[in-house]
C-alpha cells in the first residue's frame, strides 16, 4: 500500500450463491485523486461500491478505505465516506438548511461547527435566498450541487458519487465537475460512476469493469493508447463487446 492511498482493494470478491458479482479486483485510489469507476450495467460496480462503503461484506479479499478495513471496521468506514447518487440524496420536504444540518448531525458534527459549515456552504453555492426553501422546489441542477456539498459536510476522506450528473443540463454538469475538481485539490478522494463517457476524461485514472473483473485500470489516455483507440466510446465498446 502506497502511503497516500485512501482506497486499497486487494482481490476483493463478492459472490451471491453461484454468481460472482465482483471477482478478485485489486486497485488503489490515491488521496485527492478523481477515479472513474466505469462499466456496463450489471458489471459489478454497485456491488463493489457497497463493499467499499461498509454496506456489504466481501466474500473474499479485503478493502481498506480511509485506513479502515471494510470487513472488520465497517462503522469507521461509514464515518469516513460521503455518498451521493442521482436517485436519493436529499430530503425533498426539508429545507436547504435543514438538509445540511440533518446530514452534519448524523455524522456527529458539533452544533457550532455544523452551523458554521452550513452557512459557509450556503454562501459558496449562492443559495442565501433559497436557504429556507424546500429542497423539492429547487431546480435539479441546484439540487445536485447541494447534494454534493452535503456529502462533503463532514469532511470525509472519500466520497462516492453514483451517476451524480445524470439528466442535468450541460452548464450544470460542467459546474459540477468544477466542484469535484476543487474538492479533489483540497485532498478529498473521489470515486465516481457515470454513463457520460466524455466525463471519464475529467478523471485522473479510470477502471472499466466487465463481468466482475477489471478489464482496464489506468489514466484515460493510457487506456486509450493501450487499446489503440481514440475515444472513450471505443474503449467501452471494445472492452464490453467481447463479453457474451
Amino acid at each position: 500500500m502506497t502511503p497516500t492511498a485512501t482506497i486499497v482493494a486487494d482481490r476483493l470478491t463478492r459472490r451471491f450463491g453461484s454468481f460472482t458479482a465482483v471477482n478478485a479486483i485489486s486497485f488503489e485510489v490515491r488521496r485527492g485523486e478523481i477515479f472513474g469507476f466505469l462499466g456496463a450495467n450489471g458489471a459489478g460496480k454497485t456491488t463493489a461500491i457497497k463493499m467499499m462503503s461498509g454496506l456489504l461484506m466481501p466474500t473474499e479479499g479485503t478493502a481498506m478505505v480511509g485506513g479502515f478495513d471494510v470487513s472488520t471496521e465497517a462503522e469507521q468506514v461509514k464515518r469516513s465516506i460521503g455518498y451521493m447518487s442521482q436517485r436519493f440524496s436529499l430530503y425533498a420536504d426539508l429545507t436547504v438548511r435543514e438538509n445540511i444540518r440533518f446530514y452534519g448531525g448524523i455524522y456527529g458534527l458539533k452544533k457550532a461547527v455544523l452551523n458554521e459549515r452550513a452557512e459557509h456552504l450556503i454562501r459558496d453555492l449562492g443559495l442565501d435566498a433559497e436557504a429556507d426553501r424546500l429542497v423539492g422546489e429547487l431546480p435539479l441542477g441546484m439540487k445536485q450541487k447541494l447534494a454534493f456539498s452535503t456529502a462533503l459536510v463532514h469532511d470525509p476522506a472519500v466520497v462516492f458519487l453514483d451517476e451524480p450528473t445524470s439528466g442535468v443540463d450541460p452548464i450544470t454538469r460542467r459546474q459540477f465537475w468544477e466542484m469535484i475538481t476543487a474538492a479533489a485539490d483540497r485532498g478529498t478522494t473521489i470515486l465516481i460512476t457515470t454513463h457520460y463517457l466524455d466525463e471519464a476524461e475529467y478523471c485522473h485514472r479510470i477502471s472499466v469493469m466487465v463481468d466482475g473483473t477489471m478489464a482496464a485500470y489506468d489514466t484515460p489516455s493510457a487506456v486509450k493508447s493501450t487499446l489503440g483507440v481514440h475515444t472513450m466510446d471505443e474503449v467501452f465498446l471494445k472492452l464490453t463487446r467481447t463479453s457474451p
Binding site: 450495467n41 431546480p139 435539479l140 439528466g167 475538481t181 464490453t240 463487446r241
Partner: protein, 301 residues
C-alpha cells in the same frame, strides 16, 4: 404526421411547456433533447392523450389529440420513462395482452417485432419482473409496436443505460424507421442528437432550436478555444476574468473558452504566463452540440 402548434402546459405557477411549435414528418426519427425537468415528458404525455394541453393544439395524422383522442390512442405506441408492463405476467403474456387490447394478434404484426422479439424468445415464459433492464426495454418496445402504430413515442428509453446497450437500442430504432413508422424519442444525452434525423433542443419548457445536428452545430457563431495548462483550475480562474471571454468552462482536462473575436494564441499564452499560468497551450476547438446548447441556455436565460 405530428404537429404541435403553440402548445402550453402549466402546473400551478410553473410553465412546463411554453408555446411549443414543431412538426414531425412521416417516417422521421425525431429527438426531444434536454435535461430533466425541461418539459420533454409533458410534451409526450399530451401527444399520447394522457395530459390535456392548457393552450394550443396537437394533431396526429390530422386528428386533434383532444377531440379525437380515440383515434390517437389506437394509433400511437407509447413507452413511458418508467417500466410499465405487468411484472407478474410472462414475456409472452404481456405481448399477448397488448395485442388483445388493440384487437390484433401477435401473428398479424409479428414482422414488425421479429428482430427484437427473437432475442426475447428464449425467455418467453419468464415473468417480466425477472428480466434484466435491457430485456425489459426490448419487451416494452415490442408491446408498444404490436398494434402497428403510426407513431412510436419513447420517453427516455436510454436513460441510465450503458453505452453499449444504448448504441444497440438506437440501431433498432433506425431500422424501425425503414418500415415507415414515425418515431419521437426523448433523451437527456445531447450526443444522441447525432442519431436522429432532426431534434428539438429543450430547456426550461422552451424549444430553443429545431434542426438537424449539423444545422445546430453550424449555428454556433462564436470562436471556441481550448486551453491546456499545468494547472487547469488556475487557468480557468484567469480566463474567466479575461476581457475577451464570453464564457469559460472546465471541460475534461482542459479549459474551453468562447469569444466573440479572434485571438492570437501566442498572445494569450503570454498573458496567461504573466498571470502565473505555466505550460499553457492554446488551440482553436470545434464546437459540438453541448457548446450550442449552453449558448442557447445563456441566450434564453
Amino acid at each position: 404526421m405530428i404537429r404541435f402548434d403553440q402548445v402550453v402546459k402549466r402546473y400551478g405557477n410553473t410553465t412546463a411547456v411554453d408555446r411549443a411549435t414543431f412538426t414531425v414528418e412521416r417516417g422521421e426519427l425525431f429527438g426531444l433533447i434536454g435535461p430533466d425537468g425541461a418539459g420533454k415528458s409533458s410534451m409526450m404525455r399530451m401527444l399520447v392523450t394522457l395530459l390535456l394541453p392548457d393552450d394550443g393544439t396537437i394533431t396526429l395524422d390530422g386528428h386533434d389529440v383532444v377531440a379525437d383522442y380515440r383515434f390517437v390512442r389506437r394509433n400511437v405506441g407509447y413507452m413511458p420513462g418508467t417500466f410499465s408492463l405487468y411484472t407478474d405476467l410472462t414475456v409472452e403474456e404481456n405481448l399477448q395482452f397488448f395485442a388483445n387490447v388493440f384487437g390484433t394478434t401477435i401473428q398479424e404484426n409479428y414482422h414488425l417485432i421479429a428482430e427484437i422479439y427473437e432475442q426475447l424468445a428464449p425467455f418467453k415464459d419468464r415473468r417480466a419482473g425477472a428480466l434484466s433492464g435491457g430485456m425489459k426495454q426490448k419487451l416494452a418496445l415490442c408491446c408498444a409496436l404490436i398494434h402497428r402504430p403510426l407513431a412510436l413515442i419513447l420517453d427516455e428509453p436510454t436513460t441510465g443505460v450503458d453505452a453499449v446497450s444504448r448504441a444497440e437500442f438506437w440501431s433498432m430504432l433506425r431500422r424501425l424507421t425503414t418500415t415507415g413508422i414515425t418515431i419521437v424519442v426523448s433523451t437527456p444525452y445531447l450526443e444522441e442528437a447525432a442519431l436522429c434525423d432532426r431534434v428539438g433542443l429543450i430547456n426550461d419548457g422552451r424549444l430553443m432550436q429545431i434542426d438537424t445536428i449539423g444545422g445546430i452545430v453550424a449555428s454556433y457563431d462564436h470562436a471556441l478555444w481550448r486551453i491546456d495548462a499545468d494547472n487547469t483550475r488556475t487557468a480557468l480562474q484567469v480566463l474567466r476574468e479575461h476581457p475577451a471571454a464570453r464564457a469559460a468552462y472546465l471541460y475534461r482536462s482542459s479549459v474551453m473558452m468562447s469569444t466573440d473575436q479572434e485571438l492570437d494564441p501566442e498572445h494569450l499564452t503570454h498573458e496567461l504566463l504573466r498571470s502565473g499560468v505555466t505550460g499553457a497551450r492554446v488551440s482553436r476547438a470545434q464546437p459540438d452540440i453541448e457548446d450550442r446548447f449552453m449558448d442557447l441556455m445563456l441566450e434564453h436565460a
